[in-house]
Point group: C2
Chain length 294, copies 2
Amino acid sequence: MSIFGEIPGYPEGSEFANRKAVREAGLHRHNIKGISGTATDGVDAIVLSGGYTDDIDDGNVVIYTGEGGRDINTTRQIRDQEIAGGNAGLVESCLKGYPVRVIRGSQLRNAFAPTQGYRYCGLYTVQSYWLEEGIDGFRIIRFRLEKIHASPEPALLTTPLPTGSQQPPQQRYSITRVVRDTRVTRTIKEIYDYQCQVCGERLETSQGPYAEAAHIRPLGRPHNGPDTIENVLCLCPNHHVLFDRGAFTIDDTLVVRSIDSTVSPSSLIVRPTHPISLEMLAYHRDHFDFTAPA
Amino acid sequence: MSIFGEIPGYPEGSEFANRKAVREAGLHRHNIKGISGTATDGVDAIVLSGGYTDDIDDGNVVIYTGEGGRDINTTRQIRDQEIAGGNAGLVESCLKGYPVRVIRGSQLRNAFAPTQGYRYCGLYTVQSYWLEEGIDGFRIIRFRLEKIHASPEPALLTTPLPTGSQQPPQQRYSITRVVRDTRVTRTIKEIYDYQCQVCGERLETSQGPYAEAAHIRPLGRPHNGPDTIENVLCLCPNHHVLFDRGAFTIDDTLVVRSIDSTVSPSSLIVRPTHPISLEMLAYHRDHFDFTAPA
């Protein structure tokens, strides 16, 4: 049974002498493993303790490497990682928007870690995940976690909700999805007059048409995609979600290929004033096609 | 020409003796009007100074009443407000995700206002807008603004972006869309097996199907809708956006009525285990059908 969110009596900043103390407080279920959770329930906590050289810790943003595929003695990658076990749990937590307790160990030796023992550093959400070739040449799965900021409405939570509540705020939490509108993203919508480049749909509201600008290679660390017209597509929300989840990719001939075998390949709608970067499309395929053989 | 975001030299907390000083600093373009902006460009700033009795100021969340329809002498509503002028500008800012500078005047007499003059209180985004019957019995338009929290990536910005940038972070901003997953919202997706109740679509990804739970009467202040199964629908992202924007409503016989006259009415898909509150559907029609006669 997973308990998501804050554990009563252990606010952010609580410190612990060792992993056993973290476990006994109910913050994490294991003594050694980094990921606490299952594929079915999602992940309720992770420990950052410097074990993975690919990890990045910026405090409010953590790039966390999935588990598995390492040699138990050398700790080097010797096999590809799979979306299974704790990794599948982190995917589940991303899809469901569950909060994840982040615990840092002194072994991290960075500005956010305690000088000794372990510290509970608050709640994060899993914002995205993708595939990458790790330092040792094998496929790893990486997860971007972002800290949940204090919110004007009660943002923290205890156990999952009962079946319904007339007064949800005390037990509700919210996560966020980043949406941007810059001159680039506005331009792409104007080029396509708010028509989705995959299905041709244009959502109509009384306040005007609606479309989303989807970055092919995502902005921000660690993807660092450029905010240029060559790196964006004009999509309806459905195809934006599907593209970000790797449910379809776009090949070098601009054919849309779905991982759902019932959907036939189709040509991407492209206007002459919209140059599309083949390099960015390759980046998307390399990092978000979760069905590709490693 | 609208300048969105922070004005160099005037960080959050900057104080001004009067509206003229606010205007001369470039924070707001008017001396008296509350809303600085146009229907086409969006709104770059608003002043909160206690003029509208319907306003709510919780610091990080502001419920702001639109402009117009008031008697110039008594300041009471004497006509319905319309989505035009500054109100249309705030709608535009919501749809585009533009940041709005919020300036508070001492007349507010609350914990977030200065004791004298005016204070620049940071950047907010317009999260939503809806129709309501105001205290004086006429239709008003209300806007929910939420403060943009400090972000690990540079969240603030100067003027709108140039056509493209290989190094976007310095001039990028992000806004957020709230997504939730509670036991209630998980249950609704399971009842419909991730099928949209409007179009019947089920989005497939290699990590599982995807659907969104849409609250009919929104959660949180000021709508305070309940987080119960009677108040949620299982929708695809496209129909979630369209529902939240009032592009369709659902009548008491559970027929989906689009404001787009090219779309025929259709029956909502409903499973026997999903009781739907007619009261919540009426709330949605009353507050989000922007085409309804007042």
